[in-house]
């Protein structure tokens, strides 16, 4: 098993957001979490990514225990990447520089071809905007840039929080196909949260439904 979560709980101001949650994902799999708003989907992703410290429970990733009561392995040592729901693009940094900076400050930079930046910009159809700032892009272009920034470092687990919410059908299809191709070539895992499985259900191996902080695996 690649990612194993056992008995995970997360409390925010004494309110349970996640409650004794279990999850197992095989390596190089594509999994989705669905559910209504406010059910704790984003919090679960943030716990996996190391942005929140769980109150109880354990997360194992690639045979390593990521968190104990006293210690929590930081995000930069987990070999993961995340696309945030609000994208979290740096508003003062140009499109191309977003990708250049990630490449420059990533330990995998030796194995990545620098032309990957142009390739990825072209795949996501934002190469013409490479010298613009995020505020000068449309919502869809911003979303594509956020995805490009996350995949350029080739993480072992890509976490996506509502990745296609602002994209039209054509672009969703294109981005999804690119992600599938990328996942196939690097054999990484993808875990994403979505409201709409229309375009992605075929390739998704595991679907979980989240309700009141608990996960339930769904039959496809």
């Amino acid at each position: 098993m690649s990612l194993t979560i056992k008995n995970l709980s997360f409390f925010y101001e004494q309110q349970a957001i996640l409650e004794q949650l279990d999850l197992s994902l095989p390596a190089a799999s594509i999994s989705a979490i669905i559910g209504h708003s406010g059910q704790g989907k984003t919090t679960l992703l943030r716990c996996i990514a190391g942005l929140e410290k769980p109150t109880n429970g354990t997360i194992h990733w690639q045979n390593n225990l990521l968190n104990t009561k006293s210690k929590c392995i930081p995000s930069w040592k987990r070999n993961m990447s995340m696309v945030f729901q609000d994208l979290a693009l740096w508003p003062h940094i140009k499109v191309k520089e977003h990708l250049q900076l990630i490449l420059k400050y990533n330990q995998n930079r030796e194995v990545i071809n620098p032309t990957a930046i142009d390739e990825i910009l072209s795949t996501f159809e934002i190469e013409a905007m490479s010298h613009r700032y995020p505020a000068q892009l449309s919502q869809g272009q911003q979303q594509r840039l956020a995805i490009a920034r996350a995949v350029i470092s080739n993480p072992a687990l890509l976490i996506l929080d509502e990745p296609f919410s602002s994209l039209d059908e054509r672009m969703t299809f294109k981005c999804w196909n690119y992600l599938l191709k990328w996942q196939d070539s690097v054999q990484s895992s993808i875990l994403y949260v979505t409201h709409d499985l229309k375009h992605t259900i075929e390739q998704t191996s595991h679907i979980f439904n989240m309700e009141n902080g608990k996960l339930r695996q769904q039959e496809q």
């Binding site: 942005l51 995000s75 979290a88 400050y105």
Partner: protein
């Protein structure tokens, strides 16, 4: 609709041309054709020394001012310190104290035979002054204490706008600390650049402090050339290095202003992790703040009160200067209104209508900002004191509020431009499509939303105009007396008690309306909350 927008643009450009572009071009043309080769009474070596002296003085002031303002802003926004908003208010109080008053108080307090030294000489057996403060040190101290609220407010806004998610997006890189540092630096360098430039320009062109401490710097020399020798070409030649330096800066400031991130949040904002302060750290900070507030506010004000010998004379003084006070208030009010209306019209026209031409107007505005105010004053005299204009325009002081409004106009335009960038044009278009006229939709979609900013800009503009000295000294026609000018002339021949009384009066005249405005604003907020049933 486009016609009304065009009319507004034409009106604003015409007004701006009459107010600023024409007088300055006229001055440059006059110097070029009549005085270009006129000899100056200052050698090139002297000029170099003067420039270097002023440059190092202003750089020194800028460095410490930034350090103080940035440090305070960091504590107020990034720690769990309680009542940080009240502390912020207290630390911004120096904005209300005119720099010439502060300079006068400190020069007396740190003088060789007055203030601190006089106190020490009473207790210790010595006839020589025990503490000798250099004019450089004293002038720097006064400027730092006067200008740090600028960097404090700019960095307060910068720190508040930073989002936790921007840091979190760095966490997935192996060398996240380096990446985070780069992303932080690229963000803060805009704010750092703008505040450094503002403070440097204010310090470089400040005449009051240098004059009080007898520092031979650029601002005093330019003023001396104009007022003592009536040497216009000398003043302009002296101003050339400042203007050249300003033009180099213009490029950077234009770039920085364009790329300051304005929106904090695509929604779902997360709280920045604050540094939790231990009780010892909190106590230390409180003590440090009390010391700083004591030094910056309490000590000068108390010393001002102590030096007033006879309080009974205050009544007589008010009788003597009440007309000056009314006139100063009236002029500042008119100047603020002109500045507000013109800056709104210009900013709106630049952002919505004058796309290519707007850049040139902005550059000219920034050029106006770096131009020494004494030159603006002399440009006004040259332009308006001509036989083809009616005499009363210059002789009755009608041009004074226009000249005063130019001091704050560049900053006001930039503030409103930043605000207009945040307001989407579709909101106005939606109002137009509902059949609402251009000017009504302007009020509905823009002015109402900008009310808090308009109030702040008006207040700061009013304070700037009320305390302005250089232009007032140059332009005030004979017989027209306003409060800062009277105080300035009194500094050189009046008694310290009289100067202190007048300074206190100027402070009160400023603080009382500001206080009532604050109370009125609070009551409006309470009323609106009551209406909402909060």
């Amino acid at each position: 609709m486009p016609d009304s927008r065009q009319t507004l643009a034409i009106f604003s450009i015409l007004t701006f041309s009459i107010m600023a572009i024409l007088p300055i071009l006229f001055l440059v043309a006059t110097v070029f054709f009549n005085h270009f080769l006129a000899p100056t009474n200052i050698s090139f070596t002297e000029l170099q020394l003067l420039f270097l002296n002023s440059f190092f003085f202003s750089s020194n002031v800028t460095f410490f001012t930034l350090f103080l303002g940035m440090g305070l802003a960091w504590i107020f926004t990034r720690t769990t310190l309680r009542h940080s908003f009240i502390w912020l208010g207290l630390f911004c109080l120096p904005l209300f104290i005119p720099i010439n008053i502060l300079a006068n108080i400190w020069s007396h307090f740190l003088g060789n035979h007055t203030g601190l030294n006089a106190l020490l000489l009473k207790w210790l057996p010595s006839t020589e002054p025990l503490l000798n403060f250099s004019p450089w040190f004293s002038a720097s101290l006064v400027q730092i204490m006067s200008f740090y609220p600028i960097s404090l407010l700019i960095f307060y806004a910068a720190f508040l706008r930073w989002e936790q998610h921007w840091s979190e997006a760095c966490y997935f890189s192996s060398y996240y600390k380096k990446l985070h540092r780069i992303v932080l630096w690229r963000y803060y360098r805009n704010y750092l650049g703008i505040s450094a430039l503002l403070i440097f320009v204010f310090s470089f062109s400040d005449f009051a402090v240098a004059d009080m401490f007898q520092l031979h710097v650029y601002a005093t020399e330019v003023f001396l050339q104009l007022s003592a020798y009536s040497n216009l070409s000398g003043a302009l030649i002296l101003s050339l290095p400042i203007i050249l330096m300003g033009i180099i800066y213009l490029f950077f400031i234009y770039h920085w202003l364009e790329h300051i991130p304005l929106s904090n949040g695509y929604g779902n904002n997360r709280q920045i992790t604050l540094k939790i302060l231990s009780p010892v750290q909190t106590t230390t900070l409180y003590l440090l703040f009390l010391f700083l507030i004591g030094m910056i506010i309490v000590l000068p004000i108390s010393y001002l009160l102590i030096t007033i010998d006879s309080w009974t004379n205050m009544g007589q003084l008010i009788q003597l200067v009440w007309q000056d006070i009314i006139l100063s208030l009236f002029l500042s009010f008119i100047a603020t209104t002109i500045c507000l209306l013109l800056s709104l019209a210009l900013a709106y026209s630049i952002s919505r209508k004058l796309k290519p031409m707007g850049i040139w107007i902005r550059l000219f505005l920034l050029f106006l900002f770096i131009l020494p105010s004494s030159l603006i004053g002399i440009a006004y005299i040259h332009f308006w004191n001509q036989p083809y204009f009616p005499d009363f325009i210059y002789q009755q002081g009608w041009i004074l509020p226009f000249a005063l409004s130019l001091i704050f106009l560049p900053i006001a335009v930039e503030i409103f431009l930043l605000q207009f960038k945040k307001l989407p044009i579709v909101e106005e278009q939606a109002a137009h499509l509902c059949g609402i006229s251009f000017y009504k939709s302007l009020r509905l979609a823009i002015l109402l939303r900008l009310t808090p900013v308009i109030k702040i800009v008006s207040l700061i503009c009013f304070i700037f105009c009320f305390n302005e000295l250089t232009i007032s000294l140059l332009i005030s026609p004979p017989g027209l007396s306003i409060l800062p000018v009277r105080l300035f002339s009194m500094v050189h021949y009046g008694s310290q008690s009289l100067i202190a009384s007048l300074s206190l009066l100027q402070l009160l005249v400023l603080i009382i309306p500001v206080f009532f405005l604050y109370r009125y604003n609070l009551s409006l907020i309470k009323k609106s909350q009551e209406k909402k049933g909060l």
